[in-house]
């Protein structure tokens, strides 16, 4: 099996919103990286966490489970999860798993930030 590769970085947009850039893969083994990134993105005033999937290369069903877990954590903290940068393939996966009903999907970062602030 190929070695697990996940990389994340966190960028605050303002006090209420942060972006998590995700590079490489999301599988069940990505949990430490993704949850650490979520913890860093999630301040006391944070209301929206935006996931940037533009450089996502690979995701299996364990990765979807991880996103669901992150969504539950966000809901508990009264935060919203948004996403952008999903190509057609990953948009279809979100649709298949009905994650698109819980995570708002935008075309790009400006749209995600605007959408997050408008909601």
């Amino acid at each position: 099996m190929a070695q697990q590769m996940t990389e994340t970085s966190v960028r605050p947009v303002d006090n209420a919103a942060s972006v998590i850039d995700i590079l490489g893969e999301i599988t069940a083994k990505s949990e430490p990286q993704l949850m650490e990134a979520y913890a860093r993105a999630s301040g006391t005033e944070t209301r929206v966490v935006i996931l940037n999937f533009a450089r996502l290369d690979y995701m299996n069903s364990g990765g979807i489970g991880l996103l669901v877990t992150m969504l539950v954590r966000a809901n508990r903290q009264k935060q919203r999860l948004c996403a952008y940068g999903l190509n057609e393939h990953y948009r279809q996966i979100f649709e298949l798993t009905r994650l698109d009903e819980a995570i708002a999907i935008y075309d790009d970062e400006p749209a995600a930030v605007a959408g997050a602030k408008a909601s």
């Binding site: 099996m1 190929a2 070695q3 697990q4 590769m5 996940t6 990389e7 994340t8 970085s9 966190v10 960028r11 605050p12 590079l23 490489g24 893969e25 069940a28 990286q33 650490e36 990134a37 860093r40 290369d57 690979y58 995701m59 299996n60 069903s61 364990g62 979807i64 489970g65 669901v68 877990t69 969504l71 539950v72 809901n75 508990r76 393939h89 279809q92 996966i93 649709e95 298949l96 798993t97 009905r98 994650l99 009903e101 819980a102």
Partner: protein
């Protein structure tokens, strides 16, 4: 400002693709090539349940067995498991797949007894993901659980470990109540996966001990989804069973 990056060395990565491992999105499920003896009910025309569309508390459950001493690779385990999935289920539970087997987009039919003394329930699953080392199911409306089930095998410290990972909530108030009922419900569901893993281990000549990890990740109930009870597969299967005499009286075309 970009905060420090976390992660592993991407430069050493060998690119791999998930194209072809995922099912295409479907609005509703459709069965095909229904095997003789299978009841095709509560599947065709049903939408998939996601975790966000279920009712009960959200549980993350992981069951695993270590095939210590068995000369078998994770890929070999998954290949056998895909081919003989129904054979490894405990007695009384039946799963039917089309001849194409467990592959992305295929629909499986389940004819099972949720608990002793109740009529058999007909429901199904969609294979949403399958690769050489894992496969995953999602369930349609009416199924006891909303969410995903993943079956996988991996090498850990020189032995193949076989796992069942469940991230589900009960789909409606009926099933949530069943899950809370002592000695049945959740216990039966958990025992089913333990027995399944023991059967897989036995197939490979291992008398394995099944490890369990069960965590409630969301204790809230989604009352907006209580209406799911109209689709409840057990209730509809029971009505279907008791309606059999009336269907026989219906004139044939």
């Amino acid at each position: 400002m970009t905060e420090p990056t976390t992660g592993q060395n991407l430069s050493a990565a060998s690119p791999r693709s998930d194209t072809g491992n995922w099912a295409k999105p479907v609005r509703t499920l459709t069965t095909k090539d229904v095997p003789v003896g299978a009841t095709d009910l509560n599947v065709t025309g049903r939408r998939l349940y996601g975790v966000s569309t279920g009712f009960g508390r959200l549980w993350q459950k992981s069951f695993s067995v270590r095939l210590e001493g068995a000369a078998v690779t994770p890929r070999e385990v998954i290949q056998v498991w895909k081919e003989r999935f129904g054979d490894f289920w405990p007695k009384g539970q039946r799963m039917f797949f089309p001849a194409t087997g467990i592959a992305p987009g295929e629909v499986g039919l389940i004819n099972a007894k949720p608990m002793p003394g109740v009529p058999s329930m007909a429901t199904g699953i969609l294979v949403i993901y399958a690769d050489d080392e894992s496969f995953s199911f999602m369930s349609p409306e009416g199924h006891p659980f909303a969410g995903t089930l993943t079956f996988s095998a991996m090498d850990e410290d020189g032995a193949t470990v076989v796992k069942v990972d469940e991230l589900t909530r009960a789909s409606d108030p009926f099933w949530e109540l069943m899950m809370m009922t002592p000695l049945v419900g959740a216990r039966m569901q958990n025992d089913m996966w333990r027995k399944t893993l023991r059967n897989v281990a036995t197939h490979f000549g291992v008398d394995g001990h099944v490890e369990s990890r069960i965590v409630c990740v969301d204790g809230r109930r989604q009352w907006s989804q209580a209406k799911n009870i109209w689709q409840n597969a057990a209730i509809r299967s029971t009505f279907y069973l008791f309606g059999a005499p009336l269907r026989k009286l219906r004139p044939r075309r």
